[in-house]
Symmetry: C2
Subunit: 423 residues, 2 copies
């Protein structure tokens, strides 16, 4: 495979190694770079130690022509990246008046007293150019070293993202970083990885070798990525589009859509197109379905509200679930979630409701209703569809999976009950 | 610094490089290993390409005595880890009857037809020992190669975690992996990194050189980690405990607690100790506060329920916010969130409510109420405290930050209004 550029990422921090912090930074970098056609080829993650950082920098210098580094730029003693940079580049640390003026104006704004350690943060390797960080005190830095471009950013995610988007990416574009890489992602739900492979791979026999198909299984969703590198990107795009169409045609309603949108966004689009308002009545999912829906901008155009009903009393008093129904069937039952749907539609005036009730675990089950039993319902006051899940003892996974399945159930209800002009 | 063991992680997958998937696996590995005193020193992340995987394996072989690998073990064509392993170890791939029997029983259980690609999954390098994967079809593998121990696990997070906990960690213990590493984490809220440093560093002047202090800033929370390696772990522990006490004494109520518990867990403990039930009335936080609280097992002992009120009508009809109050002050106002607290306490019968109303963004603000303006309240029908946030245009960050601040506000209300016997 031809790589037009060799791009690497180094993340620095003991907290990443011992897992106190999940490295979302390098994922975000990968996303933003791939959006402009630059593919990351390697990542190193090392601790806050000189020898470790030097190792990663030396490896990256050999294996890359562009290296993005985050972490270790804060004001405190454990942040040693700049010292190591100076040694690696063979230069001195120098007090930067520019960096200090920026820091001063930021600290003044937040009425924070300037301390010695803040000044210390303005000692930068003498060969770097400052990448402005409007959101924090640690400046980003750019350096060119023996033919390799280096960008250094703080580890705070939004500061990293700000500098990457506003400083690094424009710089890369001006330096002519343009790859011959293209990709499309197809998102599917309700079908497993090997079943998809069984159905689509016979249709892809003639797909050119330079296009690769990858399966990315997630929670109840499998994403398929077609990607490739080619000297003539127009041809590449045409071929990828052709095979994307073939896959979508074969998998039909199992396809949520293309691109990187999340499930609630796909669902939101369907709701908006039909002028439907949704709401949720959540027991064991505890508000996650509402959070997933409202995490997307513009969700107020199709979401009205939710009731999280953790107790039996709230299910009865606020959602109007019948006491007898609960007595006869239990709180975790098909009848209960159906009444929760009805109650929510009436209470909040929504056109479509999703309800959940179950034992998220890890404890609390009975012989008849073991941990991981979760009932879902989606519908309105006229028609409701339900689904029973039998999941694991893993609470976080059960809550997440049930929420995703709840949103998928609402999607199914819409597909079955509403006419879609442009599916 | 002495490292008693050199432990590395390799994660494999194009999806990690282009950021379609965030690498939570290596963080979880780091957590579980550090719980038993094993510290990860390096991580490599490479794509699904032979040359790349070989590079990482060669580097890890030189720099480690234990290597954990995840990814590329699935049934589909892009999963090539096993082929590369065979080449690296200098062995052949062999059909494993043991792996096949396990796979068959799993597929039978889920009534999935056995396909050629499933059988293909049972071709393992001939030098490996199988690590049983009770949760999926891809077996884990263990190998010893020229003095280095290798463990291979699938990339699906819960399968990885299952194999790590039930197969790898017992194996490591039996092999005598025991480090001289110890650490403590102190969590603080309501104070910045440099302000903490200013207050505590003068108190730590005599702290032994082998103990390291790291600052881990998060959303409104800064964690401090004291860690070290010492030939006599008992002495190390004693020293770390001593300095932990000094820091806690200095920072007092700014300290949430020690260890890796999350904020809702700390809050939950306070609620439970006092027999308080909490609930949330959420507008712009859209259910995230409820989700954060209910993500902890046992939350039904102190959480009753929530109302997510995205529309004005739900605020009025379900939470009883006065129409005149909204007309005079706007939906995003101190008066509104105070009435939301009152309304929720009355409606759901909770002892303490948190309310939010604001413009999460990225659009929708006005000159008087710009994007990022968020009002929070916490309290009961007798007394309520409020807080106004002026955040960014970043929706996800605003929702997360406001939810964390909401929970912190509830904590402050408890500290101010309830007598704590064992703070």
């Amino acid at each position: 495979m031809i790589k037009t550029h060799r791009v690497s990422i180094i993340t620095i921090g003991d907290e990443l190694l011992i897992g106190q912090v999940t490295d979302s930074n390098s994922a975000r970098m990968g996303q933003l770079l791939s959006e402009i056609g630059i593919e990351v080829s390697r990542k190193w993650c090392v601790g806050d130690e000189k020898g470790e950082i030097l190792y990663a920098m030396q490896e990256a210098q050999v294996h890359s022509d562009l290296v993005l580094v985050t972490g270790g730029l804060g004001p405190t003693k454990d942040d040693i990246t700049k010292t190591v940079m100076a040694e690696f580049f063979g230069v001195e640390l120098q007090f930067s008046e520019l960096a200090f003026q920026h820091l001063k104006s930021l600290l003044d704004k937040y009425k924070v007293e300037i301390r010695e350690m803040h000044k210390h943060q303005c000692n930068l390797p003498s060969n770097v150019e400052i990448l402005e960080n409007k959101l924090g005190t640690a400046p980003g830095m750019w350096a060119e070293h023996q033919g390799v471009n280096w960008a250094f950013m703080p580890g705070v995610p939004y500061e990293m993202e700000y500098i990457l988007q506003h400083e690094v990416i424009p710089k890369l574009k001006s330096l002519g970083y343009q790859s011959k890489y293209r990709q499309t992602t197809i998102q599917t739900a309700g079908i497993g990885e090997s079943e998809i492979a069984h159905r689509i791979e016979p249709l892809l026999i003639q797909m050119p070798e330079y296009i690769k198909l990858a399966y990315l299984p997630g929670t109840a969703i499998v994403r398929l990525r077609l990607s490739g590198i080619h000297d003539e990107p127009a041809i590449l795009e045409q071929e990828i589009n052709w095979y994307t169409e073939i896959i979508i045609h074969e998998l039909d309603t199992l396809v949520l859509g293309t691109g990187n949108d999340n499930l609630p966004k796909f669902l939101g689009r369907m709701l908006k197109e039909n002028g439907f308002y949704i709401g949720t009545a959540e027991s064991c999912t505890g508000g996650l379905m509402a959070h997933m829906i409202t995490s997307n901008a513009g969700s107020s155009e199709y979401f009205k509200g939710s009731v999280v009903a953790y107790t039996k009393e709230i299910k009865q008093d606020t959602l109007g679930v019948n006491t007898t129904i609960i007595k006869q069937n239990g709180v975790v039952s098909e009848q209960t979630v159906m009444q929760m749907v009805e109650g929510l539609c009436q209470k909040l005036g929504v056109d479509l409701a999703i309800a959940s009730s179950g034992i998220a675990g890890p404890d609390g089950g009975t012989e008849e209703v073991p941990v991981g039993t979760i009932w879902l319902a989606a519908g309105n006051r006229e028609s409701t569809i339900t689904q029973k899940l039998q999941l694991s003892r893993d609470r976080a996974r059960n809550i997440e999976r049930a929420s995703v399945m709840g949103l998928l159930l609402a999607r199914r209800w819409l597909l079955e009950n509403v006419h879609f002009t442009n599916k």
